[in-house]
């Protein structure tokens, strides 16, 4: 059996609830009362890496570029079964400030090259299709191009066999199938699998694991964020149709009125 070396790149993002609250100067999200999470597409990337290693043997590594606090997301990945973690950071990332996509991709590609120089090439590198917060749709592609590797985005199905990966992507009528020789890079989407929860031994391991920290210098590209605004929201007057099962006739009246029964 050919073992696989897999790398997953993840991003720490806030988990806002009913509304995204901005800081007074509109320069960022007010994260005071927010929890943080791994961007959902990447949670599935982590799960897929673990499953591939379970099937083929080998190892899965998780990598992030992020503030010191992103250590939490790396350790979470270890708690669900990833073997090792690497953290790339820089003081300018404090408080969750983003680097632009060009700077992010350069830092990640450089880190990957240095990891590969010591331990050998990764057979498969997984990215989330886009990050949940900034939604740039490009970091994985830029990294793959810098590394000179093939990449396809939007992947919701992965099978590795005989040195190549068959990947499925959703289309309007079903799926498109792509086949890439390894080493390759894929941008994946939520729905690829159902991520597992941490186990107790996993949690213990994640507390103890050594996470090497690399620093990267920001090399900004040409797109700079100035400020944020909430998207305009329609304010509606809610019509109360009643309480409990007694409201059923009123609901069916509405369905009739809309011509839907």
């Amino acid at each position: 059996m050919v073992e696989l070396r897999i790398l997953v790149c993840v991003k720490r993002v806030p988990a806002p609830g009913a509304r995204i609250t901005l800081t007074a100067d509109h320069q960022g999200i007010d994260a005071k009362n927010l929890g943080f999470t791994t961007s959902p597409h990447e949670e599935c990337a982590v799960e897929e890496a673990i499953r591939l290693v379970e099937t083929h043997g080998g190892s899965a590594t998780v990598l992030t570029l992020g503030a010191v606090e992103a250590d939490e997301q790396l350790r979470y990945a270890v708690s669900v079964g990833v073997n090792s973690a690497v953290h790339v950071t820089h003081a300018s990332l404090a408080g969750g400030a983003d680097w632009d996509a060009q700077a992010t991709a350069r830092a990640l590609a450089d880190a990957i090259s240095s990891l590969e120089a010591t331990d050998g090439a990764f057979d498969l590198i997984l990215f989330g299709n886009e990050s949940a917060d900034s939604g740039g749709f490009q970091v994985g592609v830029r990294v793959a191009r810098q590394l000179g590797r093939a990449i396809v985005n939007g992947i919701k199905g992965i099978v590795v066999e005989n040195g190549s990966v068959t990947a499925q992507r959703e289309s309007t009528s079903g799926f498109e199938v792509y086949q890439l020789a390894l080493p390759a890079v894929l941008g994946v989407k939520e729905g690829l699998n159902l991520p597992r929860y941490p186990t107790l031994p996993g949690r213990l391991k994640s507390k103890k694991v050594e996470v090497p920290v690399l620093t990267a210098e920001p090399m900004p590209g040409g797109l700079a964020t100035l400020s944020f605004d909430n998207a305009a929201e329609l304010v509606v007057e809610t019509t109360m149709l009643g309480t409990g099962p007694e409201a059923a006739p009123a609901i069916v009246d509405l369905l009739e009125e809309l011509g839907l029964v």
Partner: protein, 327 residues
């Protein structure tokens, strides 16, 4: 730098959608803002040559037909290579596409090769010091103001923001471009397709009965399925539901699920988190069924019923059957 705006015409083996033509809407918005003076359509692959005939009506004066033996079906790397070569040879003012899976993917490749910044899902532009942009974040719930400095502006337009309608009846001239592609350019080409049975789906249904954590279990979805069946609709759900394995991810509505716009969205036991809301905010009407009258979904919905969905939904199905029987 020329004053051309290149529009990458997204197509699938020669078939184009209205969404794809929205890239011309973005190009015309750029012209109005003072970026560029003409629009050139880029049609990749000889299988799509026929598209050139109608493209003048979208505002393009020229169609560049890209021909190469390797360009037989969609291949993100090859398409990106083509666009990067056109950037190098034509030095356009801007390159645009619609912000779909393919549009964003092709522009990301082109920008990576050309070492240019790329702004995805733009909703507005203005000429500033550089180019002033508004673009969407968080799947559309947050707008970002940003500034783009680049010799060539590479942008995708947020889907359903710019018009995909023709703007006149002018004809475009055509020109053939033969890119230099090595065999590796086709290594990411589509090799096969799986077609799923069409029927009433979450994205096409007029009524969607959707459930959240309040449904409580996989079995708890029975009354939702029953009502959806009675109405010829589909069942949807929140991410909590898919994360618990109660429904497949294909039923998930929201930022990382489907974007839908039914006539009526019935949100049962769904609190209305922003990431869920962005997936169904285009619904014509929303009915919230929730035990909590302060739930965000109740406040945002046009109609609401307060109470336990497990009691209310069966009563609604019974009422529909009763009325049908007596009609």
């Amino acid at each position: 730098m020329s004053n051309e705006i290149l529009v990458v015409v997204e197509h699938d083996r020669g078939e184009v959608t209205e969404t794809s033509y929205q890239a011309f809407g973005l190009a015309r918005t750029l012209l109005s803002a003072g970026v560029g003076t003409s629009i050139t359509a880029v049609v990749i692959g000889a299988e799509a040559d026929a598209l050139a005939a109608g493209i003048g009506s979208y505002g393009a004066g020229l169609s560049v037909l890209v021909h190469h033996a390797e360009l037989t079906d969609y291949a993100p790397e090859a398409w990106g290579d083509v666009v990067a070569q056109l950037i190098a040879s034509r030095a356009p003012a801007a390159v645009v596409a619609t912000g779909t899976d393919r549009g964003n993917e092709v522009l990301a490749h082109a920008a990576a090769i050309a070492d240019l910044p790329f702004a995805a899902n733009v909703t507005d532009v203005s000429l500033a010091d550089g180019l002033g942009l508004t673009r969407v974040r968080w799947g559309g719930s947050l707008l970002e103001q940003s500034r783009l400095h680049a010799p060539v502006y590479v942008l995708s337009g947020s889907a359903h923001t710019f018009t995909g309608e023709p703007s006149g009846d002018a004809a475009a001239t055509t020109e053939v471009f033969e890119p230099t592609l090595d065999a590796s350019a086709a290594r990411t080409r589509v090799v096969d397709r799986v077609t799923l049975a069409a029927g009433i789906t979450l994205t096409t249904a007029a009524v969607v009965v959707s459930g959240g954590r309040g449904v409580g279990s996989a079995d708890g979805f029975a009354p939702l399925t029953e009502l959806a069946d009675l109405l010829g609709g589909a069942v949807g759900c929140s991410r909590v539901v898919t994360n618990n394995g109660w429904r497949p991810h294909s039923d998930q509505v929201g930022q990382t699920g489907k974007r839908i716009a039914p006539e009526l969205y019935i949100a049962c036991g769904i609190s209305g988190a922003i990431q869920h809301w962005v997936g169904m905010m285009a619904s014509k009407h929303v009915l919230a069924i929730n035990t909590d009258n302060e739930a965000n979904m109740v406040g945002k919905a046009e109609y609401a019923v307060i109470g336990d969905l497990h009691k209310i939904l069966p009563a609604v199905s019974d009422e529909i059957r009763r009325r049908r029987a007596s009609a």
